[in-house]
């Protein structure tokens, strides 16, 4: 009798364990993004222009350098910060002066941002300044888009392909 009760107890324990594992292994469902929303993702990695132009060294300056380090140009590594703006239907969603990466501030400036938005027709404007100019932008893209619910619209940037590109 005691043995039988022990077996029943064990079966109940296994059953409880199985229910806990089986349930929490996939439930309750998690709503990562409301199904009636769309997502605009702005992601770019771009090296802005150098802070200072390369300077040609004089013959004396070259002579002062160790023989294995002699070069005609002195090019400071530091890059400019990059200004990025994103407007959706003329509303400013993102405006940031992005620092270059790296300890010497000589790497790419990167942006990775997500914006849940309402689906439907939108006008999207994205701008980037990577030069020493104080006004205006070096790259700009304006596009009318139609976003479906749950759509993931990615905005990428590549100088080689002419600047901003909407991936959808």
């Amino acid at each position: 009798m005691v043995k039988a009760l022990q077996y029943i107890g064990q079966i109940i324990a296994y059953l409880c364990f199985a229910i806990v594992i089986g349930y929490f292994s996939s439930a309750p469902a998690y709503i990562h993004l409301a199904p009636n929303k769309a997502l605009v993702k702005l992601s770019l990695s771009h090296a802005a222009q150098h802070q200072t132009e390369c300077r040609r060294l004089t013959a004396e300056e070259i002579a002062e350098l160790p023989p294995n380090m002699r070069r005609p140009l002195d090019c400071p590594r530091e890059r400019l910060s990059m200004l990025v703006e994103l407007l959706l239907d003329d509303e400013l969603l993102f405006h940031q002066l992005v620092q270059p990466s790296g300890l010497a501030r000589d790497g790419s400036s990167t942006v990775y941002e997500r914006f849940p938005v309402e689906p439907g027709a939108h006008k999207i404007v994205i701008r980037l300044r990577d030069s020493p100019r104080s006004t205006g932008f070096d790259y700009e893209l304006t596009e009318n888009i139609e976003l479906a619910p749950k759509q993931n619209l990615a905005i990428d940037f590549k100088v080689e392909t002419g600047g901003f590109k909407i991936l959808q």
């Binding site: 292994s25 996939s26 998690y30 709503i31 990562h32 992601s43 990695s45 990775y112």
Partner: protein
């Protein structure tokens, strides 16, 4: 197979957390045992990394959510020159190489985990890494039934142009991921690193002075190796003889590894209470509870015993509440671990009639506070492990009950049953004695 793999990995998280809780609640992470505690915490990170990378390689909608959420979370550390989440921006930015890396990670991380598991049990002698056969079979059957009844299925193909808005989350591995949608990645890193550090300092909070380690007395140590063989934490080893005595080895205690359980004292053949000619100083002893004091206490409490049946209870401080057993005819001797008791003490008590019976109790079977105490004690009594309990000690007057603190009621029942049994034994012995006396008494015939 995939379902079995998934549910088994979920079960791993459950038992791992239960194991962590049990070791904490029972304070099995203090002193020398803090090493296993801290290395165990590192294992937590590797278990979660293994599980999360496993979901990733399936590459369904759920994997898409995990891949993007994880890489965004990693990017929040700010250590990557370019956000790795950019890999999942669009189908055109996705490289198959990334999955090769993930498969490699899902194999490499568990291998590192295995190595760390080996480190985790480094300070435990005779580690038990395989579950009992019945438990293994039951768990396998349970997981198989669960896999067949509710197979783990993919959550649809990946589409990077669509957000996996609703996902069936595995809460065991990804329970904290929803926080990433509400708080920053740095917040979650701080939470996890802070939580791990908080757990890591638990062995020292609140601070308690460690009990002094066992000490070796070379005058009484002949280097027999029994203490080293029985130490559950590798604290006792055998080293070359240093006192010029004609023995090859001597016991050496590493105080940093010693948990002061006293199992080595119980294993030492010189811990015999019958020794009267010289002072009772064994080859290895605990400064806080020398075996000499245990003998004195044993004899003292036995001398105070009265009633029809006199029972001496030897128990450990981590087992049941021994004070609750105090009753007429019952005396208590409490030890750090039941295996601290040399079997010769039981022999002394029952053979020299200091008590009618000896009741041994301690932690629950399979849950010894010092890992191997119960096992060694049982083997010593059964004559399977040195030092043995001598055959002359009447086994019917000795009872072992390993119920732990949770089975206090059952313990009292067992003690009462033992008392009844001893009473019957006494009556039977008395009847035999009377019969023998009657049969040996010469019959006097009076004439006339």
């Amino acid at each position: 197979m995939r379902s079995l793999h998934r549910y088994a990995s979920d079960a791993l998280v459950v038992v791992m957390v239960l194991h962590l809780l049990r070791e904490y609640i029972k304070e099995r992470m203090r002193g020398a045992r803090s090493f296993s505690w801290v290395t165990g915490l590192a294992l937590l990170w590797f278990v979660f990394a293994s599980g999360i990378s496993g979901y990733w390689v399936v590459w369904d909608k759920f994997a898409q959510y995990i891949a993007i959420a994880t890489t965004e979370w990693l990017d929040s550390l700010g250590i990557f020159a370019e956000p790795i989440a950019r890999n999942f921006l669009h189908d055109t930015t996705l490289s198959g190489r990334f999955f090769t890396l993930m498969v490699f990670i899902h194999i490499a991380v568990p291998l590192i985990l295995l190595f760390l598991l080996w480190v985790h049990i480094q300070r435990c002698t005779h580690p038990k890494v395989n579950p009992p056969l019945g438990l293994a079979a039951g768990t396998l059957a349970m997981l198989l039934c669960l896999s067949l009844a509710f197979p783990a299925v993919s959550q649809g193909p990946v589409n990077l142009n669509q957000v996996p808005s609703v996902v069936s989350l595995d809460w065991f591995y990804l329970g904290l991921y929803p926080l990433l949608d509400r708080y920053s990645g740095q917040f979650l890193w701080s939470l996890l690193i802070g939580g791990t550090l908080a757990l890591a300092i638990l062995p020292w909070v609140p601070y308690r002075r460690r009990q002094p380690a066992a000490v070796v007395d070379l005058d009484n140590c002949n280097g027999c190796n029994r203490c080293a063989a029985d130490c559950p934490f590798s604290a006792v080893t055998m080293g070359p003889r240093t006192d010029g005595k004609p023995f090859e080895h001597q016991a050496v205690v590493n105080p940093n590894l010693c948990v002061s359980c006293g199992i080595c004292v119980g294993a030492c053949p010189t811990s015999t209470p019958f020794r009267r000619r010289t002072e009772l100083v064994p080859g290895i002893d605990l400064p806080t509870l020398p075996i000499r004091e245990v003998r004195e206490q044993t004899l003292k409490v036995c001398a105070e015993l009265n009633g029809d049946v006199r029972i001496l209870v030897f128990g450990c401080t981590h087992g049941p509440n021994l004070q609750a057993l105090q009753a007429q005819g019952t005396a208590i001797v409490s030890l750090n671990c039941i295996a601290m008791l040399p079997p010769a003490f039981i022999d002394l008590v029952v053979s020299r009639n200091h008590a009618d019976g000896v009741f041994l109790t301690g932690c629950r079977q399979g849950d010894c506070h010092y890992r191997l105490g119960l096992k060694w004690m049982e083997q010593r009594i059964n004559g399977e492990r040195d030092p043995f309990l001598r055959k002359r000690a009447p086994r019917e007057r000795i009872v072992q009950f390993w119920g732990g603190a949770a089975q206090q009621k059952k313990l009292i029942e067992e003690l009462n049953t033992f008392r009844t049994r001893l009473l019957k034994l006494q009556e039977a012995t008395r009847a035999n004695t009377d019969r023998n006396v009657n049969s040996s008494t010469p019959t006097v015939v009076l004439d006339g």
